[in-house]
């Protein structure tokens, strides 16, 4: 029997939990050459900024053990072109689209929200809080509950009530739960975890940093244990908040770990660089894993690893009840 893979991101239903991660699927058209984007849980856009951005100089990439560093610097066409060309292309095709936004001040995030508030085709708004706050010496919003909350409160007040606002958090903090709580208190309907922790590599031939930008974001399987831990901690503290688990998901098993930790959806980033079909494969593998373990619904697996050891798994109890009735 097929598993019911539907999931809810706040009140928005997704056909399945496997989404692309922000900034890892360009405009959508690139992946559409490989498969039908309707098969995604949702496509998350790159983080759209007010002005067009040329991004950082190259080299922007360095491979690290089971991971990679990137310093793209939010290259993108800016909100005008996004609204003119990128979003309509997705909207016309009815592709579930989580629009990610990035800004350098509360005002910029708010302006982006305003521009997107009436745009058709915004399934949810993801607020990338891993951007430097230009009004606080470039300190990243996600590093500090207060400024993160300010952004979320403003964006939430501007966006239409029926579009969930999702705060995207980074693991480079002393207490991820505190930042998560601040965002939820400020009105975030859901949370995405994790953005890239900051890393660095040095080229031992040139004796210089491998990236032109010196430091960059670490992604890929190396960070999966950090993502699982963040999702676990936040789900334990805020069990009612929908979580999108992101970070190092390469297989259905990786996605399953995040779901058992408490994520109701997962984002796939670096895996797309290796395998353009990664989302479809991961979704299939996840369904097979659920099926093999007797799950009838994905929803029954969300956060299941939190149940006290030894307690019977709900999904199996349901099975028994049905077979004895």
């Amino acid at each position: 029997m097929p598993v019911d893979m539907r999931t809810f991101l706040a009140h928005v239903e997704l056909a399945n939990p496997v989404c692309t991660a922000a900034g890892c699927a360009a405009s959508g058209r690139e992946l559409a050459q490989f498969f039908d984007l309707h098969r995604l849980g949702a496509l998350t856009t790159r983080s759209v900024t007010m002005a067009p951005r040329a991004g950082r100089p190259t080299p922007r990439m360095a491979e690290t053990p089971s991971g990679m560093l990137n310093a793209v610097g939010l290259q993108g066409p800016g909100i005008d072109v996004f609204l003119e060309r990128e979003l309509p292309w997705l909207a016309q095709r009815g592709i579930k689209t989580i629009v990610s936004i990035g800004g350098g001040s509360v005002a910029e995030y708010s302006e982006l929200a305003r521009r997107l508030a009436d745009a058709p085709g915004v399934t949810a708004l993801e607020v990338n809080l891993s951007c430097p706050n230009m009004e606080d010496r470039g300190r990243v919003f996600a590093r500090e509950g207060g400024s993160a909350a300010e952004v979320i409160a403003s964006v939430r007040s501007i966006m239409r009530y029926d579009v969930p606002v999702v705060a995207k958090l980074a693991p480079d903090v002393a207490d991820i739960v505190a930042v998560a709580r601040a965002c939820v208190d400020a009105g975030a309907d859901a949370l995405t975890m994790i953005n890239n922790p900051l890393g660095m590599a040095i080229d031992t031939e040139t004796l210089r940093p491998s990236l032109a930008a010196v430091t960059g974001g670490l992604s890929g399987p190396a960070i999966l244990p950090l993502a699982v831990r963040c999702v676990w901690q936040v789900h334990a503290a805020l069990p009612g908040v929908p979580l999108v688990g992101v970070g190092g998901v390469m297989t259905g098993k990786d996605a399953f770990q995040l779901i058992l930790a408490g994520a109701c959806a997962v984002g796939v980033g670096t895996a797309l660089f290796h395998d353009p079909y990664a989302c479809l494969r991961i979704e299939r593998e996840l369904e097979e894993l659920l099926q093999a373990r007797g799950f009838q619904r994905l929803a029954d697996a969300v956060g299941l690893a939190h149940r006290p050891p030894g307690s019977a798994a709900r999904h199996l109890l349901v099975d028994t009840e049905e077979s004895t009735s």
């Binding site: 360009a26 067009p52 080299p59 390469m250």
Partner: protein, 283 residues
């Protein structure tokens, strides 16, 4: 498309390794200038990014094969060099924008440096099919790194070889030989592949002769399919504006005079969306 190909043969060609891989879908759709990306390291590897390689040769055998020619640079290419016949390789391709072909039977000079020569042979085939005249200029640091000299001699009207150490052909670089080849062959167009510095110089020569030049560039790539934005370089668009474009999606083939070679590795201040200046021109 993604193909799990089987290695048919492996061979050494001087300093290079060559792998012939059965990959029907890719072979069939391949056009000169396309590249493929190869997963390296096998199951449970710590290497998460694919390696981009151009296709040297396409054959119809076994439903379609592609030949990859490469030099060992780091751990990924070292792993590739250890592949043996019957091993499988995970390929994605064909990728990128291929070489545009002339409509008319014009005279073309094909300039290759190091393994960059490899991509020129399927191109030469196609040009010859269309009745073009083809001349080769192939160069490298030393004789063992000049790729495809024999094959070039068989295909082309003339083949000029250059090595920096003088161990084969003329001592010097491809661009030292290029002007006289263009002049002698009354070339109408230049195609080039090789390191950025070589492409810059080839472009300068072609511009001097006022003939079009198509270059296939190489930039460090994480995805090869246009989604990661790591492979960008500054290229001037039809509207005269400079944009940071993706070598994998908008390239790897560009019109040489459109590539701002001096600014590769930087964000030129006048690029669309550059910090400070460029952003204002946009929207």
């Amino acid at each position: 498309m993604q193909v799990t190909g089987t290695v048919l043969t492996t061979r050494r060609v001087d300093a290079y390794h060559a792998l012939t891989v059965v990959a029907p879908g890719i072979a069939e759709r391949h056009r000169p200038g396309h590249f493929v990306s190869v997963a390296v390291g096998g199951a449970h590897t710590s290497m998460v990014t694919r390696r981009a390689l151009t296709v040297h040769d396409v054959k119809a055998d076994y439903g379609g094969t592609v030949e990859l020619v490469f030099t060992v640079r780091g751990p990924g290419t070292a792993w590739l060099a250890e592949r043996r016949a019957r091993d499988t390789l995970d390929l994605v391709g064909p990728l990128g924008r291929p070489f545009p072909l002339p409509r008319d039977p014009v005279h073309c000079v094909l300039v290759g440096s190091e393994y960059g020569s490899a991509v020129l042979f399927p191109l030469a085939d196609k040009l010859l099919e269309r009745g073009c005249r083809v001349d080769f200029v192939l160069g490298a640091a030393g004789a063992d790194r000049v790729f495809g000299a024999m094959r070039a001699r068989r295909m082309a009207e003339t083949t000029t070889l250059t090595t920096e150490d003088g161990s084969l052909g003329l001592r010097g670089r491809v661009t030292d030989a290029l002007p006289s080849v263009i002049a002698d062959t009354r070339a109408d167009a230049v195609y080039a592949c090789g390191p950025m510095e070589s492409l810059r110089a080839v472009t300068a020569v072609a511009m001097e002769f006022d003939i079009p030049v198509q270059v296939a560039v190489e930039e460090s790539m994480a995805c090869g399919i246009g989604v990661c934005m790591t492979c960008v370089l500054p290229v001037i668009g039809d509207d005269g504006a400079t944009r940071m474009v993706r070598a994998c999606a908008e390239g790897p083939v560009f019109r040489g005079e459109r590539v701002r070679f001096e600014d590769v590795g930087t964000i030129p201040f006048d690029a669309l969306g550059a910090p400070g200046g460029g952003a204002r021109h946009a929207g």
